[in-house]
């Protein structure tokens, strides 16, 4: 079984995000980037399924500029067999990413598209769902457990009421939640081997994909500064304070 894993290059989760002075976005120049943590989890799950003999080939895909290659090298070090780089500079909106992933999914004849549930840069949480819609495939999002059984996948999801288990026919799109697994540490020999693997570069034109421009960023601002708290001595005082603010 062939699976596709989409991996996105994002600003590293340890970096303190700075807003550009003109409010057009966040500062990304000279800032450490790494693979989106949810995509790492998706990648790890694909590798574990391959180790169990359920998956035969893992193809990592990323979209973006030249530096996206670093993210693909990381995916190859994790255990991806090959990698495809949709090399396009500039902003790539979720719908565009979904179109490109759908085109590659079809071309490769993959059975599962694994993605992170969302990227930590825009937190859009749209690509997996849009790709499933474009491919007219079942989707199981926010997976915390995945079991493959021939032509079906059982996916446990974390929802507000507890755990929900879905059974989806393959091919399908599955997005990974935080507790699906704990990604492995990359080993030095694997990092070195990954450097020697080839990465196929394609463009939107090669895939017959049109870039979407349905979203426009109007302004980026930092979250409001947290106002100073008030200490209350009793529960009654707390209730009164909440009532005064109209919160209860």
């Amino acid at each position: 079984m062939k699976v596709l894993v989409s991996v996105k290059r994002v600003v590293d989760y340890n970096v303190r995000i700075q807003i550009k002075p003109d409010g057009s976005g966040v500062v990304t120049d000279g800032v450490k980037h790494s693979m989106n943590p949810f995509d790492e989890i998706a990648m790890e799950e694909a590798v574990r399924l391959k180790e169990k003999g359920k998956v035969t080939e893992i193809i990592a895909v990323t979209l973006g500029g030249a530096k996206g290659e670093e993210t693909l090298r990381t995916a190859l070090a994790f255990g991806a067999d090959r990698a495809i780089h949709v090399k396009e500079e500039g902003e790539i909106q979720p719908l565009t990413a979904a179109r490109a992933l759908a085109a590659i999914f079809k071309k490769e004849g993959a059975q599962i598209l694994f993605t992170g549930k969302q990227a930590i840069d825009d937190d859009a949480n749209q690509t997996a769902q849009m790709t499933a819609a474009l491919l007219d495939l079942p989707q199981a999002t926010f997976a915390s457990k995945v079991e493959l059984d021939g032509t079906k996948a059982q996916v446990t999801r974390e929802i507000d009421a507890g755990l929900e288990t879905l059974e989806v026919d393959l091919p399908a799109v599955i997005s990974a939640d935080l507790r699906l697994n704990e990604p492995r540490y990359l080993k030095l020999p694997d990092i070195m081997k990954a450097k020697k693997k080839t990465i196929e570069a394609v463009s939107f034109a090669d895939l017959g994909v049109e870039a979407a421009a349905s979203l426009k960023t109007i302004k980026t601002t930092p979250p409001p500064t947290r106002s100073k708290g008030v200490m209350v001595k009793t529960v009654d005082e707390l209730v009164s304070a909440l009532k005064a603010k109209g919160l209860v």
Partner: protein, 351 residues
């Protein structure tokens, strides 16, 4: 000339940092300190799994076959997390020494694969160190004797455990009898090998020291951001934050010196030993400065057993004297600058 690190170096260092962040947490270090051997088989196995033990071993002996520059950022991370394991002695120094021995294919064939897979621990005795680190845990000891190199098994030596200020170290007085049977390299070739080993050992110690300096600075910053006086975090007071800013500056000034030394060792430059001594002094001073300032920021509790800071400070203290103390390295630099025709000045930095 491009002095930036290659992507591989950064990737290796990132990967090791993520690994050590979890596997070498301070509570784990304390547990290992309290064991008799001071070493953890499980940790060594994990280090081997990551490929660290194979880094310097040539590919023909199941290693990765990398060099000094590939190690430098990894040494920094190992220092930052103060791992209680003599990884550098075995995987960096002994691997280099054994691999560069003239002839003696049998010894290489026996020990290099074991170093690569993490199953061997090798201790090194050099006259610059009065005691032998980790001799009690070693499967093989490489001993200096009048510039000859001797290889002895643990059962062939008598050893006495000595206490170290750094509770993660196990230091031994070792007595042994050199013989033709134990000699693996004559003095004619051994002298330059021992010199090369000393430079690599001092370079590794310097890199560990700069990692420790950064760790102690980070601890100082964390503490000063949390501890409050007069209703504010103490880090908001100029008298505190400027002290830590001074430490940051000291560390940043020491790093290029360290990286130049690594470059010098890797390419066997003529001023290799001088560059290494410069690095050992600069990194040692940065670590010591960081320790002093961070203790001041913590107050008296910084020196208590319960505070993690003491673990890193004592490691820095011990490492500062290992593989040549300040006097030793200052003398090497002094000998160079007082030599006739010594090429000094900015134009000579990378000659």
């Amino acid at each position: 000339m491009d002095f930036t690190f290659k992507e591989d170096h950064i990737d290796f260092s990132d990967s090791i940092r993520k690994f050590l962040m979890v596997e070498a947490a301070p509570e784990m270090l304390r547990e290992i300190w309290e064991t008799e051997s001071g070493r953890s088989k499980a940790l060594r196995e994990k280090l081997a799994e990551q490929g660290l033990t194979a880094l310097s071993v040539p590919e023909e002996f199941n290693g990765i076959g990398l060099g000094d520059l590939d190690w430098i950022l990894i040494h920094q991370e190992l220092g930052y997390y103060a791992i209680p394991d003599s990884l550098s002695d075995t995987a960096y120094l002994a691997a280099w020494l054994l691999n560069n021995l003239p002839g003696d294919a049998a010894l290489k064939k026996e020990w290099l694969p074991k170093i690569a897979n993490g199953s061997a621990r090798i201790a090194i005795a050099h006259p610059v160190n009065p005691m032998v680190a980790d001799a009690g845990n070693a499967d093989l000891l490489l001993m200096w004797h009048n510039d000859e190199i001797h290889a002895v098994q643990r059962k062939q030596v008598q050893m006495t455990l000595r206490t170290s200020i750094d509770a993660s170290r196990r230091l031994f007085d070792v007595t042994w009898k050199p013989s033709d049977a134990t000699r693996i390299c004559p003095a004619s070739h051994g002298a330059s090998l021992w010199q090369g080993l000393l430079d690599r050992a001092a370079l590794a110690a310097a890199a560990h020291l700069i990692g420790l300096a950064q760790r102690m600075l980070d601890l100082g910053i964390d503490y000063s951001a949390q501890r409050k006086q007069f209703g504010k975090p103490i880090g908001s007071f100029q008298a505190v934050k400027h002290q830590l800013a001074d430490v940051a500056v000291k560390i940043e000034f020491a790093k290029p010196v360290l990286y130049r030394a690594a470059y010098s060792v890797m390419h066997d430059k003529s001023r290799r030993s001088v560059n290494v001594s410069h690095a050992k002094l600069a990194c040692g001073e940065a670590a010591w400065f960081s320790a002093r300032k961070s203790i001041q920021v913590h107050g008296a509790m910084g020196y208590t057993w319960e505070a993690d800071l003491q673990m890193f400070m004592k490691r820095a203290w011990a490492l500062n004297a290992a593989w040549g103390d300040q006097s030793f390295h200052k003398k090497r630099i002094a000998d160079f600058i007082y030599s006739s025709g010594a090429a000094l000045g900015p134009g000579e930095t990378f000659t």
